[in-house]
C-alpha cells in the first residue's frame, strides 16, 4: 500500500471535516397518542440506595429497562452548589445506586450529567455526587461535564411552544434515559420535579422558557422521553427553592417513587410536597395533552 502523503492526508481530513456536520442525527421521538396508566412503585425508608433498589425491583428490576450493551444516561438534578443536606440536588446515593444497577443489568456505559445552574465543577463536587460516583470504582460509569459543542438544534415533534431548541446529543442518543429529580419548592411553578429536571438537557438561554413554562415543559418531555423516572423525596426542600441554602427549609421525608410515566411521577411528587398536582400548571397541561396520567387515582401504585 502506498504511504499516505501529507497533502492527501490533509485533503481527506478537510473533506471529512466538511461532511461531518451533515451526518444524520436521530430525530426526536414523538409521543404515543393515548396515555395508559402505568404502575408507580412507592417506598419509604432511611437508606436512599435501598429505596432505589426496592422501588426499581417493584417495577421488575433494572433488567426491565436496561438491556445488555445499552448506553444509559442517568440525569439527576445537580443544579446547585449545595450539599446533600441542603436538598437542592438529587441525593448522591440515589444517583450512584441507579448507575450501579444499570451497569449490573449490562449497560455498556452509564453517563451521569446535568447542565447546572451554578458552576458545574462546584455543583458536582459539593452535591456529593462526584464522590458517590467515583466510589463505585467503575470505569463504565462516567460523571461528565456538559460540553457546549454537543448540543444539537432539534425540531421537537408535536411541540406547541418549544418547537426548536438545542438539546444535548448524548441524552438524545442514549438507549435508556433515567430521570431522577429531587422534590423541591420553586418560586415560579410552585414545585419542581421530573419534567422540569429534564431542562438539564437543554442548551441555549433556557431561562427563556419560563415565559410559558407549562407548555414548554410538556413540549420538551414529549420529545425527550424519560424511560425510567425515580423521584427522590428522601429530603424535600420546602422553601427558598430551587436552590435553598441551609437546612431550615428541608423536610426529611424518607420517600421515593419509581415509574415510567413522567407525569405520574410529578403528580406523586407534588402530592408528597403538599400541593394538588392539578394546581401545578405544567402537570395539568401534561395530563391534558396526553403526555401521561396525573390522576393518581387511576395509577396502579405498588
Amino acid at each position: 500500500m502506498t504511504p499516505l502523503s501529507r497533502r492527501r492526508f490533509l485533503g481527506l481530513g478537510l473533506r471529512a471535516a466538511a461532511l461531518a456536520p451533515w451526518l444524520p442525527l436521530p430525530l426526536a421521538r414523538p409521543a404515543r397518542a393515548a396515555p395508559v396508566p402505568r404502575p408507580l412503585a412507592e417506598v419509604r425508608g432511611e437508606d436512599p440506595a435501598a429505596l432505589v433498589r426496592t422501588a426499581v425491583g417493584k417495577l421488575g428490576g433494572m433488567a426491565a429497562f436496561v438491556r445488555p450493551g445499552d448506553r444509559v444516561v442517568v440525569k439527576p438534578n445537580i443544579g446547585w452548589d449545595r450539599t446533600p443536606e441542603e436538598a437542592a440536588n438529587t441525593h448522591p446515593a440515589v444517583v450512584a445506586e441507579l448507575a450501579r444497577l444499570a451497569r449490573r443489568a449490562g449497560a455498556r456505559l452509564v453517563r451521569v450529567f446535568d447542565r447546572t445552574c451554578n458552576d458545574a465543577r462546584r455543583s458536582y463536587e459539593r452535591s456529593g455526587i462526584r464522590a458517590a460516583v467515583e466510589a463505585l470504582g467503575d470505569d463504565g460509569v462516567r460523571l461528565e461535564y456538559v460540553r457546549d459543542d454537543r448540543f444539537v438544534v432539534v425540531a421537537l415533534a408535536g411541540a406547541r411552544k418549544l418547537t426548536r431548541w438545542p438539546l444535548y446529543r448524548p441524552a438524545l442518543t442514549a438507549d435508556v434515559l433515567i430521570n431522577c429529580p429531587v422534590v423541591k419548592h420553586h418560586g415560579l411553578t410552585g414545585v419542581t420535579l421530573a419534567m422540569k429536571n429534564l431542562m438539564g438537557v437543554m442548551g441555549g438561554n433556557r431561562g427563556r422558557i419560563h415565559w410559558d413554562i407549562a407548555e414548554s415543559l410538556v413540549d420538551l418531555n414529549l420529545a425527550v422521553r424519560s424511560h425510567l423516572v425515580v423521584v427522590d423525596a428522601t429530603r424535600i426542600l420546602t422553601r427558598n427553592g430551587p436552590q435553598g441554602g441551609g437546612t431550615e427549609g428541608v423536610r426529611v421525608a424518607n420517600r421515593l417513587a419509581a415509574t415510567t410515566d413522567v407525569v405520574a411521577a410529578d403528580a406523586w411528587g407534588a402530592r408528597v410536597f403538599g400541593v394538588d398536582p392539578m394546581e401545578v400548571g405544567y402537570i395539568r397541561r401534561a395530563h391534558e395533552r396526553g403526555l401521561g396520567v396525573a390522576d393518581l387515582g387511576r395509577v396502579p401504585v405498588r
Binding site: 471535516a17 452548589d81 451554578n118 454537543r150 418560586g187 415560579l188 431561562g207 422553601r239
Partner: protein, 500 residues
C-alpha cells in the same frame, strides 16, 4: 548533544510557571495549593509597587524571597533575567522563531546603554504622584496577563474546535482527547474584554525581538532596570582579562549589548554567559570590578527628566474630569480594598481573572480612570460571582483583593441589584418569568415577588436591598436579549465606603 545549562534551567522554570498557571483553576478544592501568584513572591518590583501603595505595611515576610533576590542581584548581577524570568524565556524563544521566519533583518543600532532606568523612574514617580501603572509593565504581570486574557483562551479555543470536529467523527475519541487535554484546557470557554488590546500589546513586546534580541529586557523592562540598578552597585562584573586581544567577538555576540563596554555594563548584562562562550581565548570572565553608581553618569539627566515627567503624568488624573465619571456599574471583586487602595495595590497580573470559575472578572479599560487600566472588575452580564467561591482573594499577589474566609465571603457585598421595570418582563408585559428569583443564592432570597391584586397569578419581582450581595447571577441569567433587565450597581446599602 551539547548541554546548555542556561537553556535547561530556563526551560524547566518556564514549565514550572506553566504548571502553576494550569493549576490556578478550580478543580474541586476551595483552597488552592499552588497558585500562579507565587512567582510574584520573587518579584522585587511587585514589592516596590506595594510599598508605593501602602508604605511600611509592605514590609511583610511574604516579600522575603523578593528581597533575597534583590540582595543576590547586587553580587550576581541580573541572573534572574537571563536564567529565571519566564518573560525572558518567552522572548528568547519568540526571538529565535521570529528571526528564523523573518530573517535577522537590519539590527537596530544599539542604544549606548541601559535606558530602562528612565522607564522605571518615570513609572515610580507617576505611581508616587497618583498614577499606579507600575504593574502594567512588570514582566511577570505582562506575561501572566497576556497568557490569561489572550494567549491561553486562543489556544484553548483551537483545541476545543479540534475536539468538536473529532466529536462528529467519533464521540469516544473526542472523550479521550478531552480527558488527555484536560490539564491544559479551560473549563468553560474563556473570553475577556480587552483580549484584542492585550494580545496586541503582547505581540508588540515580542516583535521588539526583531529590533534586537532581548530589546525589551535591556531597554524597557522596569524589573530589569531595578535589578540593573542593584547590579551596578555590586562589586562583581564581567571584564576582559589581561590576555585579551580585543577581537570584539563578545560585544557582537552579546544579546543585550552589555559586552560592548568593558567591563560589561552590569545594568544590562543578564548573565547569559554568551561572551565567555564565544571568546576565542577564554579571556572574558567574571571577576571583581569597581562598584559604580546605580545609574550611568550620562543617563542622569534623562533619569531626572523622567522623574519630572513621571510626577507630572501622575498628577494628570487630578485635572482629568473623566476620572470622576466611573459610572454606576464598576464592580470590584469580593474582598477588594477600597477603590483608591485597590487601584494602587493591583499590579494587573490577571491572576484573579484566570482563576475566576465563571469568567466574571474582566479588565477595566478606562472605566476606572487612567490609573485603573487593566484592574479587574466584575461584569455580571458575562459571568457572576459564585456564591461560595473565594478564589480570587487567594491568588491576588498584592492583597488588592483580600482573602475572605468561609462564611465571610457569603456576607461580602459587591453591589446591589436594581430592576429596570421598563424592560423586566413581568413588570412591562404582565407575563411571568422569575429566572432571577430562581437563581438568587441568599437565604432567604434577596429577590422576592409581589402579587398584583388585579392580575392573579402574576409574580412581580423586587429586590430586598438589605439581603442582596450583588453577586450578579440574576443579571447573568436574565433571559432578555442584550442588556439584562436587572443590573448590579456599585451601590452598597450596607457600606458607606463608596461615598467617600
Amino acid at each position: 548533544m551539547r548541554v546548555r545549562p542556561r537553556r535547561t534551567v530556563q526551560l524547566l522554570l518556564f514549565l514550572g510557571f506553566l504548571a502553576l498557571f494550569a493549576r490556578t483553576a478550580y478543580r474541586g478544592q476551595d483552597l488552592l495549593d499552588w497558585p500562579v501568584h507565587l512567582v510574584f513572591r520573587l518579584d522585587p518590583l511587585a514589592f516596590v509597587a506595594e510599598a508605593l501603595a501602602v508604605g511600611r505595611e509592605a514590609l511583610d515576610p511574604r516579600w522575603l524571597g523578593a528581597l533575597v533576590l534583590a540582595a543576590a542581584t547586587v553580587f550576581l548581577g541580573r541572573f534572574f533575567c537571563g536564567w529565571m524570568c519566564p518573560m525572558g524565556t518567552v522572548l528568547d524563544g519568540a526571538g529565535a522563531g521570529l528571526r528564523r521566519v523573518v530573517g535577522p533583518g537590519r539590527r537596530l543600532r544599539r542604544a549606548p546603554a541601559a535606558l530602562a532606568p528612565v522607564v522605571l523612574v518615570g513609572l515610580v514617580a507617576a505611581a508616587a504622584a497618583g498614577l499606579p501603572l507600575l504593574g502594567l509593565f512588570d514582566p511577570l504581570s505582562l506575561l501572566l496577563r497576556s497568557l490569561t486574557l489572550a494567549v491561553h483562551p486562543w489556544l484553548d479555543a483551537g483545541l476545543k474546535a479540534a475536539i468538536a470536529v473529532a466529536d462528529r467523527a467519533s464521540p469516544d475519541a473526542a472523550d479521550l482527547l478531552y480527558r488527555w487535554l484536560n490539564p491544559v484546557l479551560s473549563f468553560g470557554r474563556p473570553r475577556f474584554l480587552t483580549a484584542g488590546l492585550t494580545a496586541a500589546g503582547f505581540g508588540a513586546v515580542l516583535a521588539l525581538e526583531l529590533l534586537a534580541p532581548r530589546f525589551w529586557c535591556a531597554h524597557l523592562c522596569p524589573l530589569g532596570a531595578l535589578l540593573g540598578l542593584l547590579a551596578r552597585i555590586g562589586p562583581f562584573g564581567r571584564s576582559r582579562a589581561p590576555d585579551c586581544r580585543p577581537c570584539s567577538a563578545c560585544g557582537t555576540a552579546c544579546p543585550t549589548g552589555a559586552s560592548a563596554a568593558d567591563p560589561a555594563e552590569p545594568g544590562m548584562c543578564i548573565q547569559c554567559g554568551t561572551c565567555a562562550s564565544v571568546c576565542p581565548r577564554a579571556a572574558r570572565r567574571p571577576g571583581p570590578v569597581r562598584p559604580s553608581s546605580p545609574v550611568p553618569r550620562r543617563h542622569r539627566r534623562a533619569v531626572v527628566a523622567a522623574a519630572g515627567l513621571g510626577l507630572a503624568a501622575g498628577l494628570f488624573p487630578r485635572i482629568r474630569a473623566a476620572e470622576a465619571e466611573t459610572g454606576p456599574y464598576l464592580l470590584r471583586p469580593p474582598g477588594a480594598k477600597g477603590e483608591d487602595e485597590f487601584r494602587k495595590r493591583c499590579i494587573r497580573c490577571g491572576a484573579c481573572m484566570r482563576v475566576c470559575p465563571r469568567n466574571a472578572l474582566h479588565p477595566t479599560l478606562l472605566g476606572a480612570g487612567l490609573g485603573g487600566m487593566w484592574t479587574p472588575r466584575l461584569v455580571p452580564r458575562l459571568g457572576y460571582c459564585e456564591y461560595h467561591c473565594r478564589l480570587c482573594g487567594q491568588v491576588c499577589p498584592t492583597g488588592a483583593i483580600g482573602y475572605l474566609a468561609e462564611g465571610e465571603k457569603e456576607r461580602w457585598t459587591i453591589g446591589l441589584a436594581v430592576f429596570d421595570r421598563n424592560r423586566c418582563l413581568p413588570w412591562r408585559s404582565g407575563r411571568n418569568c422569575l429566572v432571577c428569583e430562581e437563581h438568587c443564592p441568599t437565604q432567604p432570597k434577596a429577590i422576592v415577588f409581589d402579587r398584583d391584586s388585579g392580575r392573579p397569578g402574576l409574580k412581580l419581582p423586587r429586590v430586598e436591598e438589605n439581603r442582596c450581595v450583588g453577586c450578579g447571577i440574576c443579571e447573568t441569567k436574565c433571559p432578555l436579549p442584550g442588556r439584562a433587565a436587572i443590573r448590579v450597581t456599585r451601590e452598597n446599602p450596607l457600606s458607606l465606603e463608596i461615598f467617600f
